[in-house]
């Protein structure tokens, strides 16, 4: 193989084309699966810890065929679909109020900081006891997990607009609302999106842990059940699905950011 062709391929792989980014994704997944497969076959001899990926895949296929997979996945996705928009919407509103009022911000700041750093999943058993095994207890946990990064980033984004840009807007005759619409809000978009990113990761943790503590169905419920009956392959199958959900969310948010904040792209 010639040196020139290799370097040509690597240059292409580092490029910004759709084909290149898809190829990168496939390559990194293949590498991950290969390491997993080799580790399970030759490195770790404990089948409670890890089994080859091929077994996990066939366990997943069984799960799909029995119909359990669809039920578990749809339950978890439903919980997220209810809770996450509440967290995002509520977080935007609270964050905007904090940004708009210094006294409110200063009063609430200690509580919010404490709540943000609190491992909210510790409340999961309480919510299960109080709200039952159904969707409600998971929604509550997910909202509490996801709302704080949204609040914090909305507040930070709305308050960090360059004073010089605000002055420029005023110099061109902008009123308060026009400053908000043309400077403050566009400036905050990347902050909002990174808040949503962090919030989604926390939401995923929240929904799974909440399902551990008692549920009728769900990915977390299935993982807990598989663990109790030592079905490592089935457990890992659901974990892989969680990884894919996280990956898809991240790709979706990157696309959203590209749409809403195109000026940040490398030229």
């Amino acid at each position: 193989m010639s040196e020139a062709r290799r370097s040509g391929f690597f240059t292409w792989l580092g490029g910004a084309t759709r084909g290149a980014s898809l190829t990168r994704l496939v390559l990194s997944l293949a590498l991950f699966l290969a390491v997993w497969q080799l580790a399970a076959l030759y490195l770790v001899d404990n089948r409670l810890l890890i089994v080859p990926f091929t077994e996990v895949a066939s366990a997943l296929v069984d799960e799909v065929e029995s119909g359990a997979f669809a039920e578990n996945l749809s339950t978890t996705l439903l919980e997220l679909a209810i809770a996450f928009p509440i967290a995002v919407g509520g977080g935007f509103v609270v964050g905007a109020i904090l940004a708009g009022s210094k006294p409110v911000r200063q009063t609430l700041d200690p509580i919010l900081t404490a709540m943000y750093s609190l491992p909210i999943v510790a409340l999961a058993p309480l919510f299960t006891a109080g709200l039952g095994f159904g969707v409600a207890s998971k929604v509550a946990i997910v909202v509490l997990m996801a709302v704080f990064p949204i609040i914090t980033n909305t507040d930070a984004g709305l308050r960090s607009a360059e004073p010089s840009l605000v002055e420029t807007a005023r110099s061109y005759g902008a009123g308060r609302l026009q400053v908000l619409r043309t400077v403050t809000i566009p400036h905050s978009v990347p902050f909002l999106i990174s808040g949503v990113r962090v919030a989604f990761a926390r939401a995923l943790v929240g929904v799974i842990v909440a399902e551990f503590f008692g549920a009728i169905a769900g990915v977390g419920f299935a993982i807990a059940a598989a663990a109790q009956s030592y079905q490592t392959a089935r457990l890992l199958g659901y974990v892989v699905v969680l990884g894919l959900i996280g990956l898809l969310a991240s790709i979706g948010l990157t696309a959203l950011e590209r749409r809403l904040a195109p000026w940040r792209e490398d030229s």
Partner: protein, 265 residues
């Protein structure tokens, strides 16, 4: 507004005192008087601390004088108005807006329809030599190009008065020379009233009809130096003896204060 007053700036006995909380008040400007005639190009120079930028913000209406009055076209200045446009030192372009939308910004704020504002912006971009860059974002442009967009944005609102706050200070020396010639070319097209703040004395003499020299702490008018050179002017003018004499004279007026601000005596 009467026709012959349009574009005239009158500063009458203006004081500006900053009162920072829990600190001593700072007198930035004291009993400052000056008049800029319609279509005149006036440069303002002075040691740092002489309140050059403060004066410009007062003229724009971003600051209110503590005492005295400022009128623009015969009308008292009470806040920013479309008959005056400011070109800031750092280009202050909106990073999320394309070049054409940045230039159209002042017009869209006034409620001009986006398509019409863009048409007007395109004409200004042609004037400053940036037609073809309209779809780019500011970060994709060089410093000199961004500053031209900044100037085009101010021209797009078609103001009577153009206020420029050290617009070329962040540019390298060569780019600055070219930009000041470009500014004269653009200005000569419709001769708006210009107040141009700079710390470069030669830049001031090259550009201005009159140079207002401010003294520092508190800022007040030290002397107003007329510049007799014919227009159009070209860069070789800067190497003539008469040019050098005017620059030297202005420098002698502020040298002590510059030394003072450095702790030298």
């Amino acid at each position: 507004m009467t026709g012959n007053e349009s574009g005239r700036l009158v500063v009458d006995g203006v004081d500006l005192v900053f009162r920072p909380p829990r600190r001593e008040p700072v007198v930035a400007l004291e009993s400052l008087d000056m008049t800029v005639e319609p279509g005149e190009f006036v440069c303002v120079v002075g040691a740092s601390g002489s309140g050059k930028s403060t004066l410009l913000r007062l003229l724009d209406g971003l600051l209110e004088p503590t005492a005295g009055t400022i009128t623009s076209g015969g009308v008292p200045v009470r806040g920013p108005s479309p008959d005056r446009a400011m070109v800031f030192q750092s280009d202050n372009l909106l990073p999320w807006a394309t070049v054409v939308d940045n230039v159209a910004y002042g017009l869209t704020l006034k409620g001009v329809r986006r398509s019409r504002a863009r048409e007007a912006a395109m004409r200004q971009l042609e004037l400053v030599g940036l037609a073809g860059n309209e779809k780019q974002y500011p970060r994709q442009l060089s410093g000199g190009m961004r500053q031209r967009v900044n100037i085009a944005r101010a021209l797009a609102v078609d103001p009577e008065v153009l206020l420029l706050d050290e617009p070329f200070a962040a540019l390298d020396a060569q780019t600055r020379e070219i930009m000041s010639s470009e500014l004269l070319r653009i200005w000569s097209a419709d001769r708006k009233t210009v107040v141009f703040v700079t710390h470069q004395i030669d830049e001031a003499v090259y550009l201005a009809d009159r140079v207002v020299v401010l003294s520092a702490r508190p800022g007040t008018v030290r002397e107003i130096v007329p510049v007799p050179f014919e227009r159009p002017r070209a860069l070789p003018l800067k190497r003539t003896p008469q040019f050098g004499r005017i620059v030297d004279h202005i420098w002698s007026l502020i040298e002590d204060e510059v030394r003072g601000s450095l702790g030298l005596t």
